[in-house]
């Protein structure tokens, strides 16, 4: 690919993702409006939202799902395809590069699931109860033979794995699991890591 083409396609993608961000961040009324634009995005945001409700933990609530989606789309927005990776230690002289952009693959999977929902249940994915959505997604993951361990998100073969891999790699998700303010990967004063992490308040954990 020529340098100019690369920049151009990236600009286009950024523009689309910017719109995607707006859709995820918007209140419920605006989401429907943004969804009109969302139909042309790499990932169909309302569809992704319906999808996320079925795979993310229920206990994070509606706000938690919106927050996780905002993070996921921001992450996807910033993704640089085939980026140079750190040189592996002791294992190879080859320069390593990351994967191509996962968005096209994930977008087509989402669309396929939506079509499947209509064919099997007579309604698009977003209109199905969460349990029915989860059943469809689980069957799709079995078809993809998804591994037990999460890969780095961009390497996920399935959009559900990508979304969950990103969600479970977030420090705040770890804090939720541990019930403690670990705040992994955050810079902090030197002494503070020497004590047991403070417990999360119940309300924080719920949010």
């Amino acid at each position: 690919m020529k340098e100019g083409e690369d920049r151009n396609s990236r600009r286009t993608f950024l523009k689309r993702s910017g719109a995607a961000m707006a859709a995820v961040a918007a209140p419920a009324g605006a989401v429907a409006e943004a969804a009109q634009e969302g139909q042309s995005l790499s990932l169909d945001l309302p569809l992704l939202h319906a999808f996320a409700e079925a795979v993310l933990p229920e206990e994070i609530g509606a706000q938690g799902v919106r927050d996780a989606l905002r993070d996921f789309v921001t992450w996807l927005d910033g993704f640089e395809p085939v980026a140079e990776l750190p040189h592996p230690y002791l294992s190879s002289v080859e320069v390593q590069y990351g994967p191509p952009h996962p968005a096209p693959r994930w977008a087509s999977q989402l669309q396929a699931l939506d079509l499947l929902a209509t064919k099997e249940h007579g309604a698009p994915l977003a209109e199905l109860p969460v349990a029915a959505r989860r059943g469809l997604i689980a069957a799709d993951l079995e078809r993809h033979d998804a591994d037990a361990d999460f890969p780095r998100p961009a390497y996920a073969g399935h959009v559900a794995v990508g979304l969950l891999a990103r969600f479970y790699s977030r420090p705040r998700t770890a804090d939720l699991a541990y019930g403690a303010r670990i705040n992994a990967r955050a810079c902090r004063d030197l002494a503070s890591g020497a004590t047991m992490p403070e417990r999360l308040a119940t309300t924080e954990a719920q949010n």
Partner: protein
């Protein structure tokens, strides 16, 4: 781009050894100094919070362009090549070698004694620790002798590591904090560590990297730094064995040669590229390469292997605060009946880190069932009631003469020069003891597990050498070594080799501090001749 570079001292290579030599020569003398580095200068400190973020989010290389396309060494430690070298992205781990490492033949009847002792190197260890800034905790003196204290107090022990130490010491094996070149207080213009826990890309400069030294020397006008300049050949004088010049080119203009002249040449290009250049310089009166009358250049490439284990422990841990912090024990590097219970040569360190192995969220449970919705979070919570730790032992491997860097005539870089490859070969003593050594280290891991409680999750054994060095080893005998005890080539009075290439063995500990100390020792002798 200059076509001719002239200086009193030319240092070929731009890593930590080069930085130590340049700084010491600049302080001790008025000599002009030129540093020649084939890779790029990546002086982008102001971008490091951003590159760190992208490293965390996307796994990207934080040091863009830190390699030379088409220019590599098979089986080398890393492809990285830039001003600052591998010490740009090192973990900042700075243990010293042990006194026993320098006297293997005398103490154990194996390997080769160094021409210097630990005591000879001790003041240069101390100097290196001062220059790069090392924070550490004094271990038991019988295992961790030092003539002076660490420049800085250790970083506060993390909560997880404090618990790990209590757990591990139930075995009776003493552990202490692994020293690091990370500031527990502001040091030489660099700030105190704030535990970002991405030490390979330290965004604050609390971890030492050689770019700081080079930038300071540049700002003081004490060095010339020529990056992207690749030296292809050292040329001896017609009427003596002294080195007259180095032939080079700038990567932006490879067809236009650059001639480099100096009173003294210091080869500080690491264990791979130092040997490579000497072998590449073969010709005329030196048909086997410069400094290679002994046939030892590229030989005795050394390193150590590891045994690595992840263990589950009955302790609630909170991984993610400071995972790069570790515990060290040199208990089994010592010579005594407990370390070598069967009279066989075995020496290794022990290290412990926090870990999240087996404690991460997952998509399927042990029965292969998918975990969607609350199920994944609940599964995760059940599994983190106990913690996990990483244990590792580096064991000494004595290299054979055939453990070597050689040129591959059919594999060339973009400029037509043959590329190197390294083949690690154990001395017969180490080859015979490999299985015994690995089994013994595993047995010691299990001793710790039995005493503290827990279970082995996974154990693995290295195939190749870690922390390699050698290729231009030091010695008193010019027939069996490349440089003398000060790093001066036996065959050329004005050629010096600094750091990693000169080591005789790799002992059981990370090597960078030793490379820095050896470089300072070389610089101290060279400075006396300027």
């Amino acid at each position: 781009m200059p076509r001719t570079i002239e200086a009193d001292v030319v240092i070929i290579g731009g890593g930590i050894s080069s930085a130590m030599v340049a700084e010491r020569i600049a302080e001790d003398t008025e000599a002009s100094i030129a540093v020649i580095e084939a890779g790029n200068r990546i002086f982008d400190f102001e971008n490091r919070f951003n590159t760190r973020r992208r490293f965390l989010d996307y796994g990207e290389n934080p040091y863009h362009g830190d390699h030379i396309p088409g220019h590599d060494c098979k089986n080398a430690q890393s492809r990285s090549m830039s001003v600052g070298g591998l010490a740009m992205h090192w973990g900042g781990t700075t243990p010293r070698y042990s006194p026993e490492d320098f006297r293997l033949r005398s103490l154990f009847g194996v390997g080769t004694d160094w021409p210097i002792s630990y005591d000879d190197l001790d003041p240069f260890y101390q100097e290196a620790e001062e220059r790069i800034g090392v924070a550490g905790e004094q271990g038991p003196p019988e295992y961790d002798p030092r003539s002076g204290g660490y420049p800085m107090d250790p970083l506060p022990t993390s909560y997880n590591l404090g618990l790990a130490k209590e757990w591990a010491e139930k075995s009776g094996i003493p552990y202490w904090r692994n020293p690091v070149s990370k500031n527990s207080r502001p040091w030489r213009g660099r700030r105190e560590c704030i535990r970002c826990d991405t030490c390979s890309i330290c965004p604050t400069g609390a971890k030492y990297s050689p770019d700081f030294t080079f930038q300071n020397l540049l700002e003081a006008g004490r060095i010339m730094l020529h990056d992207r300049t690749m030296v292809r050949r050292l040329v001896p004088k017609a009427d003596s064995d002294a080195i007259e010049q180095a032939d080079a080119f700038h990567r932006d203009d490879p067809d236009d040669p650059v001639t480099i002249r100096a009173r003294h040449f210091v080869l500080a290009a690491g264990y791979a590229w130092s040997s490579h250049l000497l072998l590449m310089s073969a010709g005329g009166r030196f048909p086997d390469g410069i400094a290679n009358r002994s046939g030892t250049v590229g030989r005795f490439i050394t390193g150590h292997r590891w045994v690595n284990a992840f263990v589950s422990v009955p302790i609630r841990l909170y991984p993610g605060v400071y995972g790069s912090d570790s515990l060290l024990s040199k208990r089994f590097q010592h010579k005594d009946d407990e370390a070598q219970p069967d009279g066989k040569y075995i020496r290794h360190d022990l290290r412990i880190w926090e870990s999240d192995r087996g404690k991460r969220a997952r998509l399927r449970d042990d029965n292969g069932n998918l975990l969607l919705g609350d199920a994944a979070l609940n599964d995760w919570r059940r599994r983190i009631e106990t913690g996990s730790l990483r244990m590792r032992g580096y064991y000494d491997v004595i290299p054979a003469r055939e453990s070597a860097l050689t040129l591959e005539p059919n594999r060339k870089n973009p400029w037509g020069d043959p590329l190197p490859r390294i083949d690690f070969v154990d001395d017969p003593v180490s080859a015979e003891l490999r299985g015994y050594t690995e089994a013994k280290i595993e047995e010691r891991f299990r001793r710790i597990l039995t005493a503290g409680g827990g279970a082995m999750l996974n154990i693995s054994f290295a195939s190749d050498y870690d922390h390699p060095g050698g290729g231009c080893r030091m010695g008193d005998d010019p027939d069996d070594s490349v440089v003398d005890a000060w790093g001066r080539a036996h065959d050329h009075d004005n050629l010096w080799v600094a750091g990693a290439p000169t080591i005789v063995g790799s002992g059981c500990n990370n090597g960078t501090l030793t490379f820095a100390a050896l470089s300072l020792r070389t610089a101290s002798r060279l400075a006396g001749e300027l």
